[in-house]
């Protein structure tokens, strides 16, 4: 009886172990470029503490933010523009909590994107050191919420296969591909290229490229990134939001002609987090081809992005009997 039950237990254990092993397999290369996050920000546990009890003497305070690059940009070949990003903290009375510097630049060196070699992506810490001054604490309990804001530039790249068919209306041929729509998985960036809708005419092929803000933050015009920092003294305007720059749209060696750009050259506008751009390739670029073929459509967009994180803290005055 005992032997039988022992065997069952051993078998169950083996099953559990085997299940665990399958789940712990390493990420494939495909995994490394998925996801809808770029840089992320989080308060390091205990920095700041959830509560401070102060007496008459000054108390040090440390706010440490952990920055992680959970997206795919930049890879080894990319120009790293993350250094234009900045992180700043606010939300508290600066008479009571005095921080040496309320704003810090992002150190691009450590924030490389996820890749097959570095599936976790790069990370860095930003520390804000300061002092709590109890003499300005006129209440027994002061409960501010510390707001950390990270604004950074980012890029989304996608290379979906599209069908180039020089004779789109010829049904008599056997073709390796047909003009149609393609849905894309996420690209390891907060702004995702979600789908490509293809349409062909006798003279050109048109691509409707759909874009969506899949992240949890706000899209900021690339040139307005510095307005994120309140110490710069500039305020955001409504027109500084939901703007994306189309950096590249090409099929093979042929650049696509894209539009409309109501806000200027190359700027795509998002509406309720979604937008699109129409690009086309003229028949001259593929008229020498005899039959349909697939080729990558190389797309690259650039934008600013803003995310925030909050942490409530409590500062209490210690009451003594003296």
């Amino acid at each position: 009886m005992i032997r039988k039950s022992s065997k069952i237990i051993i078998l169950l254990l083996l099953l559990v172990l085997a299940y665990g092993c399958t789940n712990n397999s390493g990420s494939s290369k495909t995994d490394s470029i998925k996801g809808s996050e770029g840089l992320t920000i989080d308060f390091l546990k205990g920095n700041p503490q959830e509560r401070y009890v102060v007496s008459d003497v000054e108390e040090p305070i440390s706010i440490i933010l952990e920055l992680r690059n959970k997206g795919s940009y930049p890879d080894e070949e990319d120009e790293n523009i993350l250094g234009r990003g900045s992180v700043h903290i606010s939300g508290f009375d600066t008479n009571i909590i005095q921080i040496d510097s309320l704003s810090e630049r992002v150190d691009r060196e450590f924030l490389t994107g996820r890749s097959s070699l570095n599936p976790e992506g790069g990370f860095d810490d930003v520390e804000f050191k300061g002092t709590i001054y109890p003499e300005d604490l006129i209440v027994d309990r002061y409960e501010p919420t510390i707001l950390a804001t990270l604004c950074y530039p980012y890029k989304t790249k996608a290379s979906p296969s599209v069908c180039i068919d020089p004779f789109p209306f010829d049904e008599s041929q056997d073709k390796v591909c047909r003009i149609g729509s393609t849905k894309l998985s996420s690209q390891g960036a907060p702004i995702a290229i979600t789908s490509i809708e293809q349409e062909a005419s006798a003279s050109k092929i048109q691509f409707k490229i759909n874009i969506k803000n899949s992240g949890k933050g706000d899209v900021i015009k690339f040139d307005a990134l510095d307005k994120c920092d309140p110490t710069q003294g500039e305020l955001f305007a409504r027109t500084d939001f939901d703007k994306i720059i189309l950096e590249r749209a090409s099929v093979g060696f042929s650049e696509l002609r894209c539009g409309p750009f109501p806000d200027g050259n190359g700027i795509i506008r998002l509406n309720n987090g979604e937008g699109f751009i129409l690009c086309s390739i003229d028949k001259e670029s593929y008229e020498n081809e005899k039959s349909a073929y697939t080729t990558p459509l190389n797309l690259e967009i650039k934008y600013g992005y803003r995310i925030t994180e909050t942490k409530p803290i409590r500062i209490s005055k210690v009451t003594t009997t003296s």
């Binding site: 009890v53 606010s90 939300g91 508290f92 009375d93 600066t94 008479n95 009571i96 300005d136 604490l137 006129i138 209440v139 027994d140 309990r141 002061y142 409960e143 501010p144 919420t145 510390i146 707001l147 804001t149 706000d218 994120c228 309140p230 003294g233 500039e234 305020l235 955001f236 305007a237 409504r238 500084d240 939001f241 803003r306 925030t308 909050t310 209490s316 005055k317 210690v318 009451t319 009997t321």
Partner: protein
Amino acid sequence: MKHLHKPKLSLTYLLGLVIILSGCTGGSSNKSVTDADINKGTEGIIMQLEKNAPPEKVFEDTTFPIIVSLHNKGTFDVKEESKGYISIGTEKNYVELGEEKELMEFEALGKSIFDQNGELFFLDVTAETKKVGAQSELRASTIFITACYPYKTTLGTSTCVDPDIFQSDKRKKACEVKDLVTNNGQGAPVAITKIETRMVPSDEGGENFARAQFVIHIENKGNGEVLTNEREKIKNACTSNPLGFKDFNKIRITAKLSNEELDCSIDETTEATVTLRDKKTIARCTSLDSIQRNVDAYTAPLKIELDYGYTHTISKDITIEKILKY
């Protein structure tokens, strides 16, 4: 038989473990001394006559005790420069107080984190009845006890200051300007029931500056009357000295935002005093310093203090009986 015992034992052990574990979790409390919230309640000094002191029936030409309990259930310390008065009123033709004075001073410490109940003390006075008269066998009389004391309501809270009046800045904000409703009082008979927070354009510095303004709703939630906080007037309320109607329902208000004094006066010449009507009033306090509109929203400490005098009276009817010989 042995096999039957095993499950019983396991069950007993399991139950034991559950009891021990539940005991462990319930035994400790995370609340520290500093966490104690004593600034609540709408009571100040509570005055009560002890049972049978005075008794309902007393005989003529005898002495009887009057014992009053005074319990400071609020947060303000009635002491030293802010001591209170208590007076005992009797019909002098029938009841005379002994050696004790009719007007006495008292001190009573309020609640603190070290004494979360506040100070309680008893006032023991001996009174003496007089003859009820040849034509009567008994006489009804009333004993009044009046307390008059200065008191203070203090509210300390955190409030949101957002100089972006029209919410035109699309920057993310750490806090939102909203009203604060405080139904539980602040440990004083006069309570701040609501604070409306608003940001208004500054008349200095142009459109790029704003000021914080607070509309403070005040209510007398106690059973007594509010007096001006002048020491002499408070004393007069416990004596036969006259008080004018302007001496009642007056509250002096002071407020600070981030350790900066707010302006709560109606105009530059008057002191920041408000008058209760039907036990209620509002005060408007505005920051003197302008805040630049491009400053991020932040949470700032706000402290409001109300200074006033307070008086209330309790009474008890007694019957003085003649000692009949036959």
